[in-house]
């Protein structure tokens, strides 16, 4: 029994993944991407979402790894905060409150305590790049108001800003010029493309910029498909640039590889181009990526690339240009014509997917199952081309039949229409085209429905069209002496006074067909195709039409464009009731009598759940979404819930999903906020403990050797090191998570005292290897692991264990050394 609190609207997955560049973790094991108000952490190997970092209250606009600790992640959001996360465990470490809307985030390893962000302060359209100083403080929420201005009047998109050559300069592009700001000189140089000044229709606007990681070289992408490589830009006059041209349309994003030897570019051709050695000749391609490349990013380790695409997916690509994994969200590239359907066979949500495809999306696992290629034509990705659109689809006969309608209309009179009827073949477990009908109607098809009555002996499909007719198609036996075959033929064509047919719908038992002709609803007998009766309310064109179910099967509901919801009684052929409701979506629940209607008002969308037999709604929820709701669907539950209270009973058998105009898929949840519908965390309980491998012995010995050397040098200076395990202050400090520790200032004296040897004072020793130190810092962050391994090893008597103890104590020594270093500075400050 679930807690019955309130019904809340929850996002149920399929959120946007391609809003910003994805970011790799330092070891390339994880990939981060912003997704609405969240940051999602995916595994690059398995494509699985490992964590969802939630805490922001508005759209997350940028993420970057913490350059000083690559186990941490910064994120910024429109809510004016920068948050620091521990992404391995999915924990929020710190929040920096900046106070103004942040549109992008950049980090530079050289600028230790500050990050860069794009803000707009004064005017709405003018954006500045500022450096935000992040104060060191132990508290969870820190105010970071110290902004220093770097560049003004820049483009809002983070693709138009790049930091180059280890943070020596920053390049920004906007329209026709490139500005470079040198941090040392504090000067800005501005380069304008010569051709742009005089030519009126020059299409060489800048679209994106990338900087070489080590050299002074800036690559800029342009509207006309060219890539320019700028060099020698320290000099305002002598600067040079070279052109690389392959893309035929706008360059969407550019990225240098980690070493800078190759440049990656992508655009709407959906081809990833790798330019080797920055020459035009040396290029490699990875074609057929499916959709426009919007962002490209490169892992810090250099072994992986990833491209974010306009169809809401991230492709992870190996260094040798082989796609290795796809993280695919709900495809959102295009508008949804087909509405939401449920495939009776896979129980997946079905809607328009990639161009010309139907996508099957599993709601349970929040994953795309597959795209079904309906149109089967190469998609030509070019601006201004009128494509074939998949406009309607319907499943019939328990998923055995699929009807799809595709149309292409270049001009008013040139309509190309095709209807395909696919049969599910159980033998091959796939759909097979059974009948293809060219121009089933003279005009656009407005509605498509199968007769899904259980007892119906013959599959029946009805199409309604703007040409004023509705056609009934039935499956007939087409066997001849050569083969046994079935095929669809038109059985009946009906019309009503040349009005456009707008909707059609079968009653639950399949005995009646309702077809709406603009303002009039006609009821036809499905056996003889006789017109039984008509209903006309003169309340505007009928927008939605549906029959009641189960005990309410004698009712017919129609929602009109003028905002009237009518309910007719089919027995008395009279209007039962009507209500003033501007219905946008009306969906019957297949498992109950309930009907959900979503109405649209100026404030937002409201949900009404009612039974046709009584005009009083069962449940009302106001303001389910600020946007217009476009489609909705009831999804039958596998295992029925058992809510007892009246307001929630409608959710017992089915769940209601709806899709808003911005194409976010939402649903209703009764669970308390802690139990999120989406899998929020995959917190692993078990600690990682992997036994040593032969490689470890080789490598470990080497390390050990190094350590010993180091130790020797240390021991020359230090008489004796106390056993750190025995000092409570030290162990406490080491074993308590960093973010719950009191401030360093508070701990400092105690800690230093505990470390002091009785006689001599120590001189802080500089550690030669910075890199090493970095590593140790990390290991400190995952402190419990150490803690835990120790415990395990304590119980062990194997020789191996001793090794580890030995090694661990070494590492702890290093930590100590590091602490000493920090402490030293504190002492100086005191």
């Amino acid at each position: 029994m679930v807690d019955e609190e309130t019904i809340r609207v929850v996002r149920c997955g399929g959120s946007e993944l391609n809003f910003r560049r994805a970011v790799f973790s330092a070891d390339s094991k994880y990939i981060f991407c912003v997704s609405g108000d969240f940051v999602k952490v995916y595994s690059t190997v398995t494509e699985e979402c490992v964590h969802i970092l939630h805490g922001h209250r508005n759209l997350v606009t940028g993420i970057q790894l913490n350059p000083n600790n690559h186990l941490q992640l910064y994120s910024c959001s429109l809510d004016g905060t920068i948050k620091l996360w521990d992404y391995i465990d999915g924990i929020l470490i710190k929040t920096f409150i900046v106070g103004c809307k942040l549109h992008a985030l950049f980090t530079v390893a050289q600028a230790e305590d500050s990050v860069f962000a794009i803000v707009n302060k004064e005017k709405p359209d003018i954006f500045q790049l500022v450096s935000v100083k992040l104060p060191k403080s132990s508290s969870q929420e820190v105010e970071a108001k110290e902004l220093s201005f770097v560049l003004d009047y820049i483009n809002q998109s983070p693709k138009c800003i790049a930091f180059g050559n280890e943070g020596v300069y920053v390049a920004a592009v906007r329209e026709f010029y490139l500005s470079v700001y040198f941090f040392k000189k504090k000067t800005t140089s501005r380069f304008t493309l010569s051709s742009s000044r005089n030519k009126k229709h020059a299409k060489n606007n800048f679209t994106c910029v990338a900087c070489h990681p080590t050299e002074d070289c800036i690559a800029s992408g342009h509207m006309d498909g060219k890539i320019r490589l700028w060099r020698n830009f320290y000099d305002d006059k002598k600067y040079t640039y070279t052109c690389l041209h392959w893309h035929h349309d706008m360059v969407m994003d550019l990225a240098f590889s980690v070493t800078g030897t190759s440049l990656l570019s992508g655009g709407c051709e959906s081809v990833l181009v790798e330019w080797r050695d920055a020459t035009e000749k040396n290029k490699e391609f990875l074609p057929r990526l499916g959709a426009t490349i919007e962002h490209i990013s490169v892992s810090p380790a250099g072994d992986l690339f990833c491209t974010s695409h306009s169809d809401n997916k991230i492709i992870i690509i190996h260094r040798n240009l082989e796609a290795s994994a796809v993280i695919q969200g709900l495809v959102k590239d295009r508008s949804i014509f087909t509405g939401l359907m449920i495939d009776p066979r896979t129980k997946a949500l079905v809607l328009n997917g990639k161009p010309g495809h139907l996508q099957f999306y599993s709601l349970q696992s929040d994953k795309q199952l597959y795209n079904l290629d309906i149109i089967q034509q190469e998609y030509i990705n070019d601006y201004g081309l009128i494509q074939i659109e998949l406009t309607k689809a319907a499943f019939g006969c328990f998923g055995n039949w699929l009807a799809t309608v595709e149309q292409r209309q270049e001009k008013e009179t040139e309509l190309e229409l095709q209807m395909k009827l696919w049969m599910y073949n159980k033998k091959t477990q796939g759909f097979i085209l059974n009948t293809k009908i060219n121009m089933p109607h003279e005009d656009c098809i407005t509605a498509l429905c199968f007769c899904n009555a259980e007892k119906s002996e013959q599959p029946t499909l009805v199409t309604a069209s703007k040409d004023g007719y509705f056609k009934v198609w039935i499956l007939t036996d087409d066997s001849d002496i050569y083969k046994k075959a079935v095929g669809w033929t038109c059985d009946f064509v009906g019309s009503y006074h040349k009005y456009q047919a707008t909707n059609c719908c079968f009653s639950e038992d399949g005995s009646l067909l309702a077809v709406s002709f603009e303002e009039i609803v006609t009821i036809w007998d499905s056996v003889t195709w006789e017109l039984k009766c008509t209903f006309c309310q003169r309340a505007g064109k009928i927008r939605h039409l549906c029959f009641g179910r189960l005990t309410c099967s004698k009712y017919l509901l129609g929602a009109t464009e003028n905002g009237i919801l009518c309910c007719w009684n089919l027995l008395s052929c009279a209007l039962e009731w009507n209500a003033k409701l501007n219905v946008r979506v009306m969906e019957p629940d297949p498992n109950s009598e309930n009907i959900a209607a979503i109405s649209q008002s100026s404030v937002g969308s409201d949900l009404f759940v009612f039974k046709p037999s009584e005009p009083r709604p069962l449940y009302i929820q106001k303001g389910i979404s600020r946007e217009e709701v476009q489609w909705g669907v009831f999804v039958p539950r596998d295992v029925p819930e058992s809510f007892t209270s009246e307001a929630y009973q409608w959710l017992n058998r089915s769940q209601f999903y709806f899709l808003t105009k911005s194409q976010s898929l939402l649903t209703f949840s009764t669970k308390s906020p802690e139990e999120k519908l989406t899998p929020t965390s995959k917190q692993l309980l078990a600690e990682e403990s992997l036994p040593t491998t032969p490689f470890y012995f080789i490598l470990g010995k080497h390390r050990q050797h190094q350590d010993e050397k180091l130790n020797e040098t240390l021991e020359n200076e230090l008489v004796q090191l106390p056993l750190t395990e025995n000092i409570p202050a030290v162990s406490e400090l080491l074993h308590t998570p960093a973010h719950v520790l009191p401030s360093a200032a508070f701990l400092c004296s105690m800690f230093v005292n505990s470390l002091l040897l009785s006689k001599e004072t120590k001189s802080a020793k500089e550690i030669p290897e910075d890199v090493d130190m970095e590593e140790e810092k990390e290991s400190e962050d995952s402190d419990e692991e150490n803690d835990f391994i120790e415990k395990v090893q304590d119980t062990n008597n194997t020789g191996l264990g001793e090794d580890i103890i030995h090694q661990l104590s070494k590492s702890e020594e290093k930590e100590l050394r590091k602490f000493r270093k920090i402490d030293y500075s504190w002492i100086a400050a005191l």
């Binding site: 094991k29 595994s43 190997v45 398995t46 699985e48 796609a323 994994a325 695919q328 066979r345 896979t346 099957f360 599993s362 994953k367 795309q368 199952l369 597959y370 290629d373 089967q376 696919w422 073949n425 033998k427 091959t428 477990q429 759909f431 097979i432 085209l433 059974n434 009948t435 293809k436 009908i437 060219n438 089933p440 056609k471 009934v472 083969k483 095929g487 669809w488 033929t489 038109c490 009946f492 064509v493 009906g494 003889t528 017109l531 295992v639 802690e674 999120k676 929020t680 995959k682 917190q683 692993l684 309980l685 078990a686 600690e687 403990s689 992997l690 036994p691 998570p737 973010h739 395990v792």
Partner: protein
């Protein structure tokens, strides 16, 4: 069929490969094949989700595997809990997979991260691990081995919590009681242990061969009146190697009962067993047993005390390939595993080979005692892994699909004769009055015979050939006649053909018009001639509309684009031909005004829009064809012309279009026709 996990030649090793569905929604299916690879498949779309090869896969192949319960990940260890004030919710996702190996180590593999998570070695088994069970709540793991011991692992710490001797021989199977306080182990005998004290609570006889599976089937005792201590009264099931009987045991309060309560019989050694727990007394236990011979047996039984006779299955499921013709006989496809879906009404079946299994959800129909599913997995044999990147499935579009274009029968509703009394013409199944038409035809034939006799002398053999061809439906003969391009010849032939062949000829022409555009061009000539020459005869036919409905639809669809233009054009042509006809006095066709009257009557009978439009454009089409020929030496029946004229007036003479324009429109028309043909 892959034989025993671990690749050992042990005859008493269980058949089948270690495999398991992920708990809860069965989103994944993990299968450790004998080549040492662990593969995880997505059940919903039959896609390889990941593949993992343990570093020691050759020496220590996987012998058993178990998914960690999903709740385990959600629960946080106490120290973590403190750390997290922002509570992170439960997850429905399953992650950890425990693999037991032939050398005694246990691997924990993370399916989310796709990497080895930990390895449980120290203090564990030193021989083949036979079974692994996760404790549902505590996060403990139980394993049993050939080394006769049972080990309780603390997964958090990756170390042994407790290790005790489970039997005098190897322990082959384990199961944890529903309340989590007891453990069943099967070695030589089946023992029920109290987990807290590690003491034996009950003994059961067991099987003669090693027990390969143990499972609790109920979570509540059969009679609920007695107080329930969590274990007494529960039933459990056991299956063993080489044993065709699955035994059901009941835990009783008194210690003496050691033999099985009842048993299920199957056709071969059970390889994979899944069941739905019955939650109350009335609900039967559903059991799916996959046997070594590749069949699935389904049992549905309310467990209630003794039953001496072994129960046979309610339903058997087999899968076979389709036998294509006589060449290949159907071959059985082995089922590897079967799991009940959460709705308990459908079954996930895994079948095929273990390196490329097919996973399918099958709805259960309890009425049928035997289900044989025919599946074509021939295209699955090629190992395909890399198609997974695009996630696109291409449904089959082959030439066998029926294609309907406008004008082809079936594209539009067949035109049926109007029922005389009703207002609506729409009626579904009405067979037209064929008798009348035959009579009419006979009558027509009489006249016709006379006419034919008169004209026979002058012509060459074309009309005869045509008649014979139509009667015998001889393709060659018809080709010879119909493929002529000589307009005059066509005209003469049509004039001299017997009347009763008019309708068959029209039907033949219609059929050919639907064919290749090149031949259709020729047929148009013929059609034009027939319609102009025999219009009067045609108009006398009462069932003209259903007979020529297809032709009408074809014509309508072909001239649709220039409907108004063709109306006007037809009218102008008519005027011209009328004028020429009045000037010429030729030996025209015999029937005159009479036929016209009949035709008018017909048309007045029909009131539907459809029918009127029908005739209307039939005429239009005529005119079109005439214009397309643009040869003006024909004999035209004035009757029909007048008729059409009347119709044309209805359509309105709103526009006067210059004749050149018409010609242009005309020249556009023909290619249109041909292109639609394709």
């Amino acid at each position: 069929m892959a034989a025993g996990g671990g690749g050992s030649g042990d005859p008493l090793a269980p058949a089948g490969v270690p495999c398991a569905f992920s708990p809860h929604s069965q989103a994944y299916f993990a299968l450790a094949s004998t080549d040492g690879h662990l593969r995880v498949w997505e059940t919903a779309n039959n896609r390889l989700h990941q593949e993992y090869v343990p570093s020691a896969h050759l020496s220590g192949t996987c012998t058993c595997l178990a998914w960690a319960p999903a709740r385990l990940q959600a629960k946080e260890s106490p120290q973590r809990k403190k750390r997290k004030s922002e509570a992170v919710g439960t997850s429905n996702q399953t992650d950890l997979l425990a693999l037991g190996t032939a050398v005694g180590s246990i691997l924990l593999y993370s399916t989310v991260k796709g990497e080895l998570h930990s390895k449980l070695v120290s203090g564990g088994h030193d021989n083949r691990v036979n079974c692994i069970q996760w404790h549902q709540d505590s996060g403990c793991l139980y394993s049993c081995s050939d080394d006769k011991h049972i080990v309780e692992w603390n997964v958090q710490a990756c170390k042994v919590k407790c290790k005790w001797k489970g039997d005098n021989s190897s322990v082959s199977s384990l199961c944890i009681s529903p309340d989590g306080k007891m453990l069943l182990s099967a070695g030589r005998t089946i023992k029920l242990w109290v987990l807290e004290t590690k003491e034996v609570y009950r003994h059961f006889t067991g099987h003669a061969t090693p027990v390969s599976s143990l499972m609790f089937t109920t979570i509540r005792p059969p009679n609920e009146s007695q107080p329930f201590d969590g274990i007494t009264g529960l039933y459990f099931l056991s299956g063993a190697v080489h044993d065709r009987l699955l035994n059901v045991w009941q835990v009783r309060s008194e210690n003496k009962e050691k033999s099985a309560v009842m048993s299920f019989t199957v056709t071969d050694e059970p390889v994979y067993i899944d069941l739905t727990l019955s939650e109350n007394k009335e609900e039967p236990v559903k059991l799916a047993v996959v046997c070594r011979d590749g069949q699935v047996h389904l049992f549905e039984h309310i467990l209630n005390g003794y039953c001496k006779k072994p129960l046979t299955s309610n339903c058997t499921i087999q899968i076979a390939t389709p036998g294509k013709g006589k060449k290949s006989t159907p071959k059985p496809i082995p089922i590897l595993a079967a799991g009940f879906c959460s709705d308990k009404m459908s079954l996930l079946l895994v079948y095929g080979s273990w390196f490329q299994p097919t996973i399918e959800r099958v709805a259960l129909n309890s009425r049928e005692p035997h289900m044989c599913l025919v599946r074509d997995i021939s295209n699955c044999w090629a190992p395909k892994v890399e198609t997974a990147i695009t996630k696109v499935r291409t449904p089959v579009m082959n030439s066998e699909a029926k294609v309907l274009v406008p004008g082809i029968p079936g594209h539009h509703a067949a035109i049926k004769p109007a029922p005389p009394q009703t207002e609506q013409v729409e009626s579904k199944r009405k067979s037209g009055g064929n008798e009348v038409s035959i009579e009419e035809r006979l009558g027509a034939m009489d006249i016709d015979a006379r006419k034919k006799g008169k004209d026979d002398l002058q012509t060459n053999s074309f009309p005869v050939l045509l008649t014979q061809g139509l009667e015998s439906n001889d393709f060659e003969m018809l080709n010879k006649v119909l493929q002529t391009r000589n307009v005059n010849l066509i005209k003469k032939t049509v004039l001299r053909m017997p009347l009763h062949t008019v309708i068959p000829l029209l039907q033949e022409l219609t059929k050919r018009l639907q064919g290749h555009p090149n031949s259709a061009v020729l047929m148009v000539q013929w059609l034009k001639c027939v319609l102009t020459v025999h219009a009067s005869y045609l108009s006398t036919l009462p069932d003209l509309v259903p007979q020529l409905g297809t032709l009408y639809q074809l014509m309508e669809s072909r001239v649709k684009t220039f409907q108004k233009l063709s109306h006007l054009h037809g009218k102008l042509i008519l005027l011209i031909t009328q004028v020429t006809a009045s000037e010429k006095t030729k030996g025209a066709t015999s029937p005159g005004q009479k036929a016209k009257l009949v035709y008018e009557e017909e048309s007045s009978e029909e009131e539907s829009d459809d029918e009127i439009a029908d005739k209307d454009s039939e005429d239009n089409w005529d005119e079109d064809e005439e214009e397309s020929e643009s040869e003006k030496d024909e004999d035209i029946d004035e009757e029909e012309d007048e008729d059409a004229e009347g119709k044309d007036e209805e359509n309105g003479e709103d526009r006067d279009i210059a004749s050149e324009k018409e010609l242009n429109g005309d020249s556009d028309l023909d290619p249109e026709n041909e292109s639609e043909e394709e």
